[in-house]
Amino acid sequence: MAEQLQEDWLDARLRDEAVYIDDDGFTGRVVQQLPARQQSRLSRAVILLAVTLVACIVAYLISGRGMFLTHTAEFLVAMPLATVCAIAGACALLVTVVGASAAFAKARL
């Protein structure tokens, strides 16, 4: 009982010692050193979407109004099956390597 009372007294004394420290410009100094504000997520999304749209329109116009798509499709249809399989395999391998690297980098963080 006496032990408990002594501990309570000790805790109370310790808490009494934790006096409030006046801010005295501390917060201002911290905020001054913060990195510049980034643009909000919404504005970033709007900018990204607008730039993508413009890029798509430009690509469409300078490529003969999408004729390159027809040409590419024709080229792929005429390609030997083994080549198509090799290209697909290479793409799958590339995506796997990129994904694994990203996962590894994230796990290290």
């Binding site: 002594q6 420290i21 917060t27 997520r41």
Partner: protein, 178 residues
């Protein structure tokens, strides 16, 4: 109605809101600076530098705060790591012996007429016991929270608090005879 710490963190995450962060700094600056002053043995200038570093690190790593612990607990952890890093840096620069840093009494507090008796008793504690006592008894953290802040096992925190308390009691009992 005032916003909770979690609300303010959400605002920072959503909109990089500096105003919300400054509110968090205002709320916690006293506790963080107080803890660091105790750890640095009342070196207010060094403690404030470390406190600034603590808040800047908190801001940069705010995404890693997942809300599992109280925001103050998370801040104490960053503050303690800043203190440890600084002690290590100073040790490398001027050859301070860390064991001496942990065990040697603060020369400023040797004269009981100059310093408060409890602060003197605290300064006599080794760093690990002083930190555990400050976090649990002064700042009101649970043993579990303190073990997260200090990144040591729960049992070690309990032992450090117990030993720290025992030493404080002994020192203060001796002082009562004056």
């Amino acid at each position: 109605m005032s916003l909770t710490d979690a609300d303010l963190v959400a605002r920072i995450l959503l909109d990089d809101d500096h105003h919300a962060f400054s509110e968090l700094v205002k709320r916690h600056q006293s506790a963080v600076r107080g803890l660091l002053r105790q750890l640095t043995r009342t070196d207010a200038a060094l403690a404030d530098d470390l406190a600034q570093e603590t808040f800047l690190k908190a801001y940069k790593n705010i995404r890693s705060f997942r809300g599992e612990a109280r925001f103050s607990t998370w801040l104490y952890r960053i503050a303690y790591n800043c203190f440890r890093e600084d002690a290590r840096r100073r040790k490398e620069l001027v050859g301070i012996d860390e064991t001496r840093l942990e065990a040697e009494p603060d020369p400023q507090t040797v004269d009981p007429a100059l310093r408060h008796d409890l602060m003197h008793a605290l300064s006599l504690l080794p760093l690990h016991e002083r930190t555990a006592v400050l976090l649990c008894c002064q700042n009101g953290l649970s043993h579990d929270e303190a073990s997260r802040v200090l990144e040591i096992p729960l049992g070690t925190v309990k032992t450090n608090v117990l030993r720290g308390r025992e030493k404080l009691k002994k020192t203060l009992a001796m002082w009562e005879n004056f």
